[in-house]
C-alpha cells in the first residue's frame, strides 16, 4: 500500500532506490550536506590565508581530508539510523507484505544508499573543482570518483551492521571500527611486519602479524581510496582507480550477501 501510494508504477528495486533518496531528502540531508560543504570551504580558505606558500594545496588537502571523513561518518549514520528505524518502526515488515523479497529489499536499499554516496561525493567534488590547482581538474575528478567508491563501500558495510545488530549505537560503532581498521590496515601490517625492539620470531609478534594478515584478507584497503595527492592535482594512476572500482563493487556485493544470509535466517 505504502509503496503503491508513493511509487505506483515502478518496479520494486527502482521504487526502493527512489524511496531511499526521498527519505534522505526529507531528512534534510541535502541541506546539511550544503552546510558542511560550505563550512569546510570557508575553513580551507582560512587555512590557505595563513600559509606562506602552497596556500591552494593546503586548502585542497584540508578540504579533501575533511570531506572524506565527514561524509563517511555522516553517511554511515544516515544508513544505520534509517535502517534501524525501518526495523523498529515496522516498515520492513510492511514492505515484506508486498510482493518484495528480502533480497530485493537489501539490494534496493543498498543501491539507494550507494546512489546517495555518489551524489554526496559529487557535491564534494564540485566544491573541490572550484579550488583545483591549474591543470589539476582531471585529478580532482579522479579523486571524486575514488571517494564515491569508498563511500559506496562504507554505506554497504553500514547497512550490513544495521541489519545485523538492529540498534543504532552498536551498528554505528561497528561501522566506525570497520572503517578505522580498514584505513589503518596498511600501517598496522607494516608495524606488525617490522617490530621495533622485539624478536621477530617470538610468538606474540608472529600472532600479531597473522591477525593483521587475516584482517588484510577481510577488509578492503581504504587508505588507498580518495588519495590526497590526486586532490592536489598529482598524477593519477588509472589502474589503481580501476582496481578500486572493481573492489568497491565486489565488496558491496559481499556485504549484501552477508546481510542476506543474516536476514534470511531470522524470523521477521
Amino acid at each position: 500500500m505504502m509503496m503503491q501510494t508513493f511509487l505506483p508504477k515502478l518496479p520494486p528495486l527502482t521504487a526502493l532506490i527512489r524511496l531511499t533518496l526521498i527519505e534522505a531528502w526529507r531528512g534534510r540531508s541535502a541541506r546539511l550536506l550544503l552546510l558542511f560543504l560550505t563550512a569546510v570551504y570557508a575553513l580551507g580558505a582560512f587555512a590557505a590565508s595563513m600559509a606562506v606558500t602552497e596556500g591552494q594545496e593546503t586548502r585542497l588537502a584540508l578540504a579533501a581530508h575533511l570531506y572524506r571523513l565527514g561524509l563517511v561518518l555522516a553517511l554511515a549514520l544516515i544508513v544505520v539510523s534509517s535502517t534501524v528505524r525501518d526495523m523498529e518502526g515496522g516498515f520492513f515488515q510492511v514492505l515484506l507484505a508486498f510482493p518484495l523479497s528480502r533480497a530485493q529489499f537489501v539490494m534496493g536499499r543498498q543501491a539507494g544508499y550507494m546512489l546517495l554516496a555518489v551524489l554526496a561525493a559529487a557535491g564534494a567534488t564540485g566544491v573541490m573543482l572550484t579550488m583545483a590547482v591549474p591543470g589539476g581538474r582531471a585529478a580532482v575528478l579522479a579523486w571524486g570518483a575514488s571517494l564515491a567508491l569508498e563511500l559506496s563501500i562504507v554505506v554497504a558495510v553500514a547497512l550490513f551492521f544495521a541489519l545485523g545488530l538492529r540498534r543504532v549505537l552498536p551498528a554505528y560503532a561497528g561501522c566506525c571500527a570497520f572503517y578505522l581498521w580498514a584505513r589503518l590496515l596498511d600501517v598496522a601490517r607494516f608495524m606488525a611486519a617490522h617490530p621495533v625492539g622485539q624478536d621477530a620470531a617470538s610468538w606474540d609478534v608472529v600472532a600479531g602479524r597473522a591477525v593483521f594478515d587475516l584482517l588484510g584478507w577481510l577488509l578492503p584497503p581504504l587508505a588507498g581510496f580518495a588519495p590526497s595527492p590526486w586532490a592536489l592535482g598529482g598524477p593519477v594512476q588509472g589502474a589503481l582507480l580501476a582496481l578500486q572500482f572493481g573492489w568497491a563493487l565486489w565488496y558491496a556485493a559481499l556485504c549484501a550477501g552477508a546481510s542476506l544470509i543474516d536476514l534470511y535466517r531470522r524470523e521477521v
Binding site: 595563513m50 606562506v52 606558500t53 581530508h65 571523513l69 595527492p229
Partner: protein, 221 residues
C-alpha cells in the same frame, strides 16, 4: 527550578573565576613523533596532516600572549619537524621554503647554517622539485651569512644534481660561475631573487609577495 538553575550557573561562573586568566608561557616545540605514529594519527592519509603541521610549525613562534623571537627556538627541533613533514609529504615545498627563507632570517650563524644544511641535505633526493631552495640557500650563504666558500659549495651541489634536468633554468645551473664573479651582495641578491621571480615557477600569491618584499627591503638598505 529557576533557583536551582541560578545556583548551577553561579557555580559555573565561580569555577571560571577560580581558574583565572590563562598566563602566557613559551611552550617548547619538542621532537616530532615517528612517521608511523603520524600515519596512524592521520588515518594513513599523511599529506593533509603534513599541511596542517606546516601551519602548526609556522605558528609556533606566535603563542597566545607572546611572540617568540626565532633565536629562542630550538633549531634542532625545528629541523627535526621540517624533516618529519617532508617525510609525510615528499612533494611539499613548504618545509624547504620555511628553512631557506624564514628560519634563515635569524641573526645567528649557527642556526642559519643548520637550516641551509638541512635544505642542502634534502635537495639531492628530488632535484627537480627542490632546486630553487638550493639556489636560495646559496644566496643566503653569500648575502646573509657572508660565507662565499659555503655559497660556492651549495652552488656546485646545485649544478651537480641539476645536470641533465632541462626543467632547471640555466641561471640556476650556472650559479657557481655567477658567484665566482665576486659581485657585491646587493647585485647578487637582485640577480638571484630577480631571476627566481622571473622564472615563473612561483605561483603562490603569499610567496610572490614575500619575495618581492625581500627584494625591496634589500634595495632600500
Amino acid at each position: 527550578m529557576v533557583a536551582v538553575f541560578a545556583v548551577l550557573l553561579a557555580g559555573q561562573v565561580a569555577l571560571a573565576l577560580w581558574r583565572g586568566v590563562p598566563e602566557a608561557g613559551a611552550q617548547p616545540l619538542g621532537r616530532p613523533p615517528s612517521v608511523t605514529a603520524s600515519r596512524l594519527a592521520s588515518l594513513d592519509d599523511p599529506v593533509p596532516l603534513a599541511k596542517m603541521l606546516d601551519l602548526y610549525l609556522q605558528a609556533h613562534d606566535v603563542q597566545p600572549g607572546l611572540s617568540l623571537p626565532w633565536r629562542e627556538l630550538d633549531y634542532g627541533d625545528v629541523v627535526a619537524w621540517l624533516g618529519h613533514i617532508l617525510q609525510l609529504d615528499p612533494l611539499g615545498q613548504y618545509p624547504l621554503l620555511a628553512a631557506a627563507r624564514l628560519y634563515t632570517q635569524v641573526p645567528d650563524l649557527q642556526r642559519q647554517r643548520l637550516m641551509t644544511d638541512f635544505v642542502a641535505g634534502q635537495y639531492p633526493q628530488d632535484p627537480l622539485h627542490r632546486w630553487r631552495w638550493m639556489a636560495h640557500v646559496a644566496y643566503v650563504a653569500k648575502v646573509q651569512m657572508k660565507d662565499p666558500a659555503l655559497a660556492l659549495r651549495y652552488a656546485a651541489e646545485l649544478r651537480q644534481y641539476a645536470e641533465g634536468l632541462p626543467q632547471v633554468p640555466a641561471w640556476a645551473r650556472q650559479m657557481e660561475i655567477f658567484l665566482r664573479m665576486g659581485q657585491n651582495d646587493l647585485d647578487t641578491a637582485r640577480a638571484l631573487l630577480g631571476a627566481l621571480l622571473a622564472s615563473g615557477q612561483i605561483h603562490d600569491d603569499n610567496e610572490l609577495r614575500f619575495l618581492t618584499q625581500t627584494l625591496k627591503e634589500l634595495e632600500q638598505k
